[in-house]
């Protein structure tokens, strides 16, 4: 009797709960319908979707810059931007398929190389859906897909000149770089950076020793610290970080090198403005403007002209460059908001300004602006190596002082 009544109670409670949920949902659904009817009269803006890398926002680099570019597109072009962060690479193909077949989005903008394979496997099935892949290429030209790449040589060259100038202000003549893996974008950075150093030599008749070290990883700060320390021991005065998370370790090594009194050295960041990490020892960062790439892709899809295939962004398009103080302030603000730095954006900008005045002399800026002008006007165009052998031979010739070996067009 007792057992039976408890069973009975269990059934009754389950039924009540199910009815309550069902009722609640019905009430909600009916209240939603009224709301939806009222909004259909307003004109719908064009929708685009930005699909982040697996890490998503908050990386103070790629994904945050993509968001920045998309927000600007929303404001300037009047599009409605939606965002999505996939949980893993195995979610990418199903998500692309579902989004493409919903036909809701004018363009799907994919951030970062992790999307390459998923896009390559889905793009052909949806000829009416436009895709943009940022900073990577599928290697296939399709009418519905643009791959946006950067001309890293151009920022590398400017940074090469600046680094050489800074090394001389620190009473040295050696510059170095902590690089990630030996992959095409890094080859381009290497060519540009070395070109910049040699260009500085040519213009000033001061010799520059050049060190370049691959760490084999983009995600290991420990490795970055060790590599940077080795380069500093070899006399490097300025180190350029080209290894993502790995070169955060390089920053730490440079900071320790100064604070422990081993000597004086400076670091240079890349991609986003990284001065906020330690404005005293990181006075300048190279820019790889993912935001410009995202904006460009959305603009191509919404306003045209649309043309499938690879598009490259360089100094001329504002896709790469050197972060100005506004950019420094923007990233300092994000870092400050996320409590990654104790310094206020104003303090950071002030320190950066002082350090730049102290270590980058006007004669260096003159060389930089002159080189920038040559690149922007198309007077010189850098080679993009397609194979590792071609890359090695360009580097070898540059080392021997043949600057024109790096150029596809023009000469210096």
């Amino acid at each position: 009797m007792n057992a039976l009544s408890r069973t009975g109670w269990a059934i009754i409670i389950i039924v009540i709960v199910l009815i309550a949920i069902g009722g609640g949902y019905w009430w909600y659904a009916s209240s939603q319908q009224g709301g939806k009817g009222a909004t259909t009269t307003t004109k719908k803006p064009v929708k685009v979707a930005v699909l982040f890398d697996v890490g998503g926002r908050g990386d103070l680099s790629f994904n945050d810059m993509a968001y920045l570019g998309a927000q600007r597109a929303a404001k300037d072009l009047g599009v409605e931007v939606k965002y999505l962060t996939p949980k893993s690479t195995s979610d990418m193909i199903p998500l692309l398929k579902q989004l493409a077949s919903s036909k809701q989005y004018k363009i799907l903008v994919l951030i970062g190389f992790l999307w390459t394979d998923a896009l390559n496997k889905t793009a052909d099935q949806f000829p009416d859906q436009k895709f943009a892949l940022i900073d990577s290429t599928t290697g296939v030209t399709r009418p519905n897909e643009v791959d946006i790449l950067f001309r890293e040589q151009e920022v590398g060259a400017l940074i090469g000149v600046i680094a050489s100038g800074m090394a001389y202000e620190l009473n040295g003549s050696t510059i170095g770089a902590v690089a990630g893996m030996s992959i095409p974008p890094l080859w381009k950075f290497h060519i540009g950076y070395l070109f910049g150093a040699k260009y500085f030599e040519m213009k000033t008749n001061k010799t520059v020793n050049f060190l370049w070290q691959y760490t084999g990883t983009f995600g290991d700060p420990q490795k970055g610290y060790q590599t940077a320390t080795q380069l500093l021991q070899q006399g490097a005065k300025v180190l350029y970080g080209l290894a993502g998370l790995t070169h955060i370790g390089m920053f730490d090594a440079v900071i320790d090198w100064n604070e422990k009194g081993y000597g004086k050295a400076l670091a240079i960041g890349e991609d986003a403005s990284q001065e906020w990490y330690n404005p005293k020892y990181i006075p300048v960062s190279g820019a790889k403007r993912v935001d410009v790439a995202v904006y460009t892709a959305i603009k191509m899809a919404v306003q045209g002209p649309w043309k499938g295939g690879i598009h490259t962004l360089g100094l001329k398009e504002g896709g790469v460059g050197i972060w100005d103080l506004d950019g420094v302030r923007y990233f300092a603000q994000i870092a400050y908001n996320e409590s990654k730095t104790k310094l206020t954006p104003d303090q950071i900008v002030n320190i950066v300004k002082q350090q730049r005045e102290k270590y980058i002399k006007p004669y260096v800026w003159n060389i930089v602006h002159e080189l920038e002008q040559k690149i922007k006007s198309g007077q010189i165009v850098f080679k993009t190596p397609l194979t590792e052998d071609e890359y090695n031979s360009i580097i070898q010739q540059l080392q021997q002082g043949n600057l024109n070996a790096a150029l596809a067009k023009g000469h210096v």
Partner: protein, 350 residues
């Protein structure tokens, strides 16, 4: 065949009749804990300024609408859920499902790549996972080293070993962030991926409930002393459970490679976290292979739906992760509590 099935079904009905109250209370427990979970989640959403009904609607409709996607997303979770649950039935905590999945994925990928045969790859994946799990069990059984500590350390060992092997020995010449790829023509479909996961779970069910070793696993987990009293060593059961659990995790790792990505990427984002999520799946599935199939699907649905919440409402991914976490904790809490009480009670008696 049909006769056997008929008699099995009769037996099943008999079970239901005898244990009616137990099953009903079980159902009540699940309904009430689900309700609690959704209620707490709704309150949090409400207070941080989102519409709870709308977010639940997205999670449940988008999460469970694309069945192929749901199935493939669930497949590895079902396997890592089993990798946690089967050893738990034998009384050991296997939190090494993560690395067992990695090792399975790596060897499975390699074998499938070399032989162009996904089925051989799946077998290789099972063996690799089993050996990796067996290593943890052997250290526990023969050297008395706590399996939790070994597993945590081996998780990272496997993580970095795999990245190293992909970079140095199996790099993809066309895309530098990927390993070599299984040819697309050899890959299995989404449906097959899920079906193979279900087959894996059913085999685990059969082994656990219809074989000698399965019985030993369950008895020595429920009470190691009665296992000794009955004349068999809990050590065998622990070894067997870890070999089986690890093997299934490895098999799950190969399923992702064979069915979805075809390769492993150097950031490990294809595989990372599936083993840890498996702990929740196992508890949610009440440590029962059939329950784990459903909890794997449920979990996968929440994960898939969570991604759409960001797209449709603009809520950052952390919000949906929190919601998923709360719901899963609420659903597994009563069971985890009973497990813990049982475990503590046994410690007290020693």
């Amino acid at each position: 065949m049909s006769e056997a099935l008929g008699s099995w079904f009769k037996g099943f009905l008999e079970q239901v009749r005898i244990r009616k109250r137990q099953y009903l209370l079980g159902a009540l427990e699940i309904v009430l804990s689900a309700l609690t979970g959704f209620l707490v989640a709704a309150l949090i959403l409400y207070f941080i300024g989102y519409d709870p009904w709308y977010i639940f609607e997205i999670m449940l409709t988008y999460g469970f609408s694309d069945l192929g996607y749901l199935g493939t997303r669930a497949a590895p979770l079902i396997m890592t859920g089993l990798a946690f649950s089967i050893p738990l039935l034998a009384g050991v905590f296997n939190i090494g499902g993560e690395s067992q999945l990695y090792m399975g994925a790596l060897l499975g990928l390699y074998v499938a790549y070399v032989t162009h045969n996904v089925w051989l790859g799946l077998i290789a994946g099972f063996i690799a996972g089993a050996l990796w799990g067996g290593l943890i069990a052997a250290l526990r059984v023969y050297r008395g080293i706590n399996e939790v500590i070994t597993a945590i350390m081996l998780n990272w060992t496997a993580y970095y070993t795999i990245i190293y092997i992909i970079l140095v020995y199996l790099p993809n010449p066309k895309q530098s962030h990927l390993s070599v790829q299984i040819p697309v023509s050899e890959m299995i479909s989404y449906g097959e991926t899920f079906a193979l996961a279900v087959v894996g779970a059913l085999i685990a069910y059969f082994i656990l409930y219809y074989t000698d070793i399965g019985y030993k696993i369950r008895v020595s987990g429920a009470n190691p002393r009665s296992a000794v009293y009955a004349g068999f060593s809990p050590k065998t059961a622990i070894m067997a459970s870890m070999l089986l659990g690890g093997g299934l995790a490895g098999y799950g790792g190969t399923l992702i490679i064979a069915g979805v990505t075809g390769s492993i990427d150097t950031t490990m984002s294809t595989l990372y976290g599936l083993g840890f999520t498996g702990i929740g799946v196992g508890l949610l599935g009440r440590n029962h292979p059939i329950g784990i199939i459903f909890s794997g699907l449920f979990f996968a649905g929440l994960i898939i739906g969570g991604q759409w919440v960001e797209l449709l409402t603009g809520a950052p991914p952390y919000v949906t992760d929190t919601i998923t976490g709360i719901i899963v904790i609420a659903l597994s809490m009563p069971y985890a509590y009973r497990l813990l009480v049982n475990y503590m009670g046994r410690l007290g008696k020693k």
